[in-house]
Symmetry: C2
Subunit: 323 residues, 2 copies
């Protein structure tokens, strides 16, 4: 790989001048610029970002630790974050923790070593104090850790919205399918608010938790089927993700339960899947694009970071065919 010295030699100037051209500082004649550009072109030179980073102490890289890139929600989130990061000249390093605390810890160290300029923490198995000693900006997603700014959808509103919809649709016996309510995740507020609202209307929801392996879909079907065996009169279900809803839809199909005639179904997220399903899924939409934009702002812009600690985004009920 050619270095700045090679360029300088070819262009007949000093490395300092080449650096000046690259960074456009100081006085430079058209002629000099021309020569330098030409030499860079001739050598197919591009400045070594590593060396620049060493000096500038900025890597221009943001990191994200998430549970699983293959989950549509996180793929979508990561996709948008990459988009906005890119707009601000940042690159995105993606780390799949697979919900594994050890890997998560390793990634935190790895990203620290790599001098990333900011971290999005969207996987939450680590103890809180692991983060206390990190030096770079951190934004957490769907969880509050220490004083770090966090981003989430208005989970409370989402739970209430889902409950009210099901009630207004006349559901008397409702089920709720969610992840692990023991975890200290903001997204669990969806469930709490849903349950609370239901209770206020005199309905005691039947709750099914997927447990810790939220991302292992293989057991979803066996988990959901008994709900309908034990409670054949269930006529409304709210799930905390669209994928869970897809499985409900499938189980109902197996059992001959017609949606929306026999059962109203509401998901959460509004990932593309919700429109690919048949019938198309009614869901609570998280404004992913806006959330991703804010996440990048929080990491790259000190003012934003200082002004917004709690970044709670309104959700919206999207009516499709399952309700």
């Amino acid at each position: 790989m050619p270095t700045i010295k090679d360029v300088a030699r070819i262009a007949g100037v000093t490395p300092t001048t080449v650096s000046r051209v690259i960074n456009n500082r100081g006085y430079l004649s058209q002629n000099t610029k021309q020569k330098v550009y030409q030499a860079m072109d001739q050598l197919n030179y591009s400045p070594n970002a590593i060396a620049r980073s060493l000096f500038s102490k900025k890597s221009g890289i943001l990191g994200i630790i998430l549970p699983d890139l293959r989950h549509p929600f996180f793929a979508e989130l990561a996709g948008y974050i990459e988009f906005y990061a890119n707009q601000s000249n940042y690159k995105l390093l993606i780390c799949n923790s697979n919900h594994n605390a050890t890997k998560e810890k390793q990634f935190v160290d790895l990203l620290k070593s790599n001098q990333i300029d900011g971290l999005v923490m969207a996987s939450h198995t680590l103890d809180v104090d692991e983060f206390a000693r990190l030096e770079y900006p951190i934004v957490t997603f769907d969880r509050i850790i220490d004083q770090f700014p966090y981003v989430c959808s208005d989970n409370h509103q989402g739970g209430v919205l889902a409950a009210e919809k099901l009630i207004s649709l006349g559901c008397k016996k409702v089920g709720h399918i969610c992840g692990n309510l023991q975890l200290d995740l903001l997204s669990n507020q969806r469930s709490w608010s849903f349950i609370k609202t239901m209770k206020e209307h005199g309905i005691e929801p039947i709750i099914i938790q997927t447990g810790n392996d939220v991302f292992d879909y293989s057991h979803y079907e066996e988990l959901i089927t008994p709900l309908f065996r034990d409670h054949p009169d269930v006529n409304g279900i709210f799930t905390t993700s669209d994928i869970l809803a897809a499985y409900v839809s499938r189980v109902c199909n197996n059992l001959g339960i017609h949606i929306p005639k026999d059962l109203k179904l509401i998901g959460y997220d509004d990932v593309p899947l919700s429109t690919w399903m048949i019938p198309q899924l009614s869901t609570i939409r998280q404004p992913m694009r806006e959330m991703a934009e804010r996440i990048v702002q929080l990491l790259t812009n000190v003012q934003t970071r200082q002004h917004y600690n709690a970044n709670i985004f309104d959700v919206e009920f999207i009516k499709r065919a399952t309700s």
Copy 2:
């Protein structure tokens, strides 16, 4: 951030010694090691990977340029690549080109600047010669560029398999929905082989192309619906992706066409979506995990790179409910 000097000072040794401890070279007494580890711990030190990269000329980063992380196929692929890269101590930098040649070019430059140790090229809008001058290992996905090793599924076999299945199911009038057949992509071989096999059986498939904006799903429905208007007797369809198949399934649902009774449907990829659909999709499975593993090997292992230029993976017909 503490540096190696700080650690040396606290431990009462020289930076060289600390470096030796970190890299475990030369003779070191237990006592010295102990002191150094303790100092590192006390300072919460982790070596600056940027500085190490500058010296070693290795960044430990692989890059991938893909059209859209939000597409399940690429999310899955990237997820697996990240997994295997990680196993070999590499990180993964993800770049979404959004099918935009300018962005693609920018990413190529950007990744070059960042001294990545290898590139997976899975987005193909650039002219071939743009790649000629890149210094790091490159693997292309689903396209042949110059002499670079490439990875793909056996698209020919996939097309034949799909055709034979439909024929054996008794389909007489078949449709085929694909991307843009003008592009020089290996994945288009699926279509060519499908069409050829069909013709050999005296069937002239009706072909619908999504055009260049393959990733803009919004027009899929209007694209597919006319097929059934113009050819009500179509009773078999092969699509080049599972997502396309999901749209076919939806359109059929709209039009009251029953799958698999009235129409047999076969997709391609076998992404999780295919099991979330109702009815579950029969599809041609690409061995994504194995392909990702090979991709990482090709980039990180010279021997592999020298031995395997064409990396074509067998596909498999997965029978589910749509056939």
